[in-house]
Structure formats: structure tokens, C-alpha cells
Symmetry: C2
Subunit: 149 residues, 2 copies
DNA sequence: GCTTGACCTCAAGTGGACTTGAGGTTGCAT
DNA sequence: ATGCAACCTCAAGTCCACTTGAGGTCAAGC
């Protein structure tokens, strides 16, 4: 066995929709650790593609690379992860995702309550005065809605 | 009229849950432009609090400060915005928010499809191979779920 | 064997959103 | 009048997620 064809960094970049420099960066950040060829070139196993996709997906959930790296450290680095490994991980993130969606929905509700209420000129506004901590959460989420490249 | 008591930067910071330096920064970014006292200190009208809340809310939607600034430029700077002004603005963002929620829900569905499927070891995974561009969107959304702080 | 494109490392740069610090001024209470 | 907290400006620093660049190596086709 072991007849798995390994992928070059360029191939992984192309197929995962990232760039070579991003893959270098991920490696430096401890998210990937490809083998090396005799000539010191990176050689990725196929499941690196999944790992990258997972990283991207997690980022889209608002999870930082540091957290992703931490989570991935729980996975066997050189072994194809088991179903259980994966489930544990992704169900944790599923919960985070649920929470995030709920937060946005609450925000939307508040926004709805404000649209047309002349809110900005009123004194008691739910957006203005949300009681709960809407504010600050890291550096803020950025343009998640932007699905262009 | 005009008997509106103006707020100092410290007051605005305290009441809006930001910091003085953030307010300075917002001002430098064209998001706020308070008047000045005779002694050159910032004096905010009450609705600056709403503006700040709006900025925070918009950030939570994943809108960058630059975009927020642009949107706010459509509002009269020195006048309390009208109901119509506000509605126009917030309903645009409402749409963005809907889109974002939908995106996250789709992601969640994909994630659900993957949990327990042993995905990471399979070849055809919807997360791994989402077809649509899940990837890259700005610098990525960060820890939106984190409502602590 | 030579060219060419893909690869390597390491250092520095970028952009967004702030924060920190130095050095000086204002305003309110006593 | 004076003390002191809160204010001012401007420059630089920080963190994250990358990107860019310089200078050099590797591998596959001709």
C-alpha cells in the first residue's frame, strides 16, 4: 500500500483554491505539515485538500487560525483521521455555528425592529441599547457575505 | 432649542462601551465628526451614541469600517437623520445580513452532512468539495460567536 | 547539458482595526 | 490659584492573515 500519489504545493494550491504562499503560511502556523521530497519540496497527501477545505470552512465560521490549529492538533497528524475524530471536531464547530447564526438572527430581529421606526432619532432603540454585548468580538467579522473570490 | 447637552469623549466611550482611542480612531476614519469645545475638546451630540451602536452592529454584520463610513456619508452629518435615511440604510444591511445568515446555514447543512460520515477519509465530501466558493472572503470573519467581553 | 518553470527560505511589507505612549493642555473642584 | 483627572495630537506599535520580494535550487523536456 502507500501507493498514494503525493501532491506538490502548486497542485494543492490550485485544487484547494488557495495560493502557494498561503500554504506556506499555514504550514508555518502549524496547520499543515507535508512531507518533503528528496529535493526538499513539499509533498502533500491527498487528505491535505480536505484539511485545507476544513480550515477555510472553519474560518468562515469565524474561527481563528490559532483555534483551528489547536483543534487540528487533536487529529492525528500523519494518519488519516477516523470518523470519530472528525465528528468530535465538527460537531463542536456545529455548536459554534449555531450560536453564531442565532446571534445574527437576533441582530436581524433588532434591525427589523428599527427599520422604519425612525430609530436614529428616537431615544429608546433596541439597536442603540441592546443590553447584551453586541459590541466587540475580536476584530469583528468581515464581509462574510462576499462570496466573490 | 439646541438645548441638547453635549457629551465628552469619555462619556461617549463609557456609554457606548468603546474606548476613547476607538472614538478617536473612528473620527480619523470619518465615521464621526464631533464638534469641539472652546478648548478643543470633542463634544458629541447624543445621537453619536446611536451612530456608534450602528457602527458596532454593522461590524457584527461583517461590514468593514470603510463601507460603514461610506454608508454613513449618505446621512446628514450635522442633522439628526430622518426616518427615511435610516430605513434606507438599515434595510440594505438587512439584506446583507439575510445573505450572511443563509450562507452560514448552508455551511451548517454541509457540516451536518459531514458529521459522522467519516468525511475526512472519504473522497467525495461536500465540505471538501463545495463547488461554490466558500473560501476566502476578506480576511475572514472572526469569532463572531464570542459574546464575552 | 541547458533552459524554464515550479519550487525553496527568509525577511519585510500590507491592510484593517485598533492600542500605546510621549509630551503637552483644559476644566472643574477645592 | 492650584491640583489633578480628563482631555489633546501625533507617531509608533500590535495582532492577524496573508502577500511580496530577493536570491537561490530542483526537475523535466528538448
Amino acid at each position: 500500500m502507500q501507493g498514494e500519489k503525493l501532491l506538490s504545493v502548486g497542485e494543492v494550491a490550485r485544487r484547494s483554491g488557495t495560493t502557494v504562499s498561503t500554504l506556506h503560511f499555514y504550514e508555518a502556523s502549524g496547520l499543515l505539515s507535508p512531507e518533503r521530497s528528496s529535493g526538499n519540496q513539499r509533498r502533500y497527501r491527498r487528505d491535505a485538500l480536505r484539511r485545507v477545505a476544513f480550515i477555510r470552512a472553519a474560518q468562515a465560521l469565524g474561527i481563528s487560525l490559532a483555534e483551528i490549529a489547536e483543534a487540528l492538533r487533536a487529529l492525528p497528524e500523519q494518519r488519516t483521521p477516523t470518523k470519530a475524530d472528525w465528528s468530535r471536531l465538527s460537531s463542536g464547530w456545529r455548536a459554534a455555528l449555531d450560536q453564531r447564526i442565532a446571534g445574527l438572527q437576533a441582530l436581524r430581529d433588532r434591525l427589523d425592529g428599527c427599520i422604519g421606526c425612525g430609530c436614529l432619532s428616537l431615544r429608546a432603540c433596541r439597536l442603540y441599547n441592546p443590553d447584551d454585548a453586541l459590541g466587540r468580538s475580536g476584530t469583528g467579522a468581515r464581509r462574510l457575505a462576499d462570496h466573490s473570490r
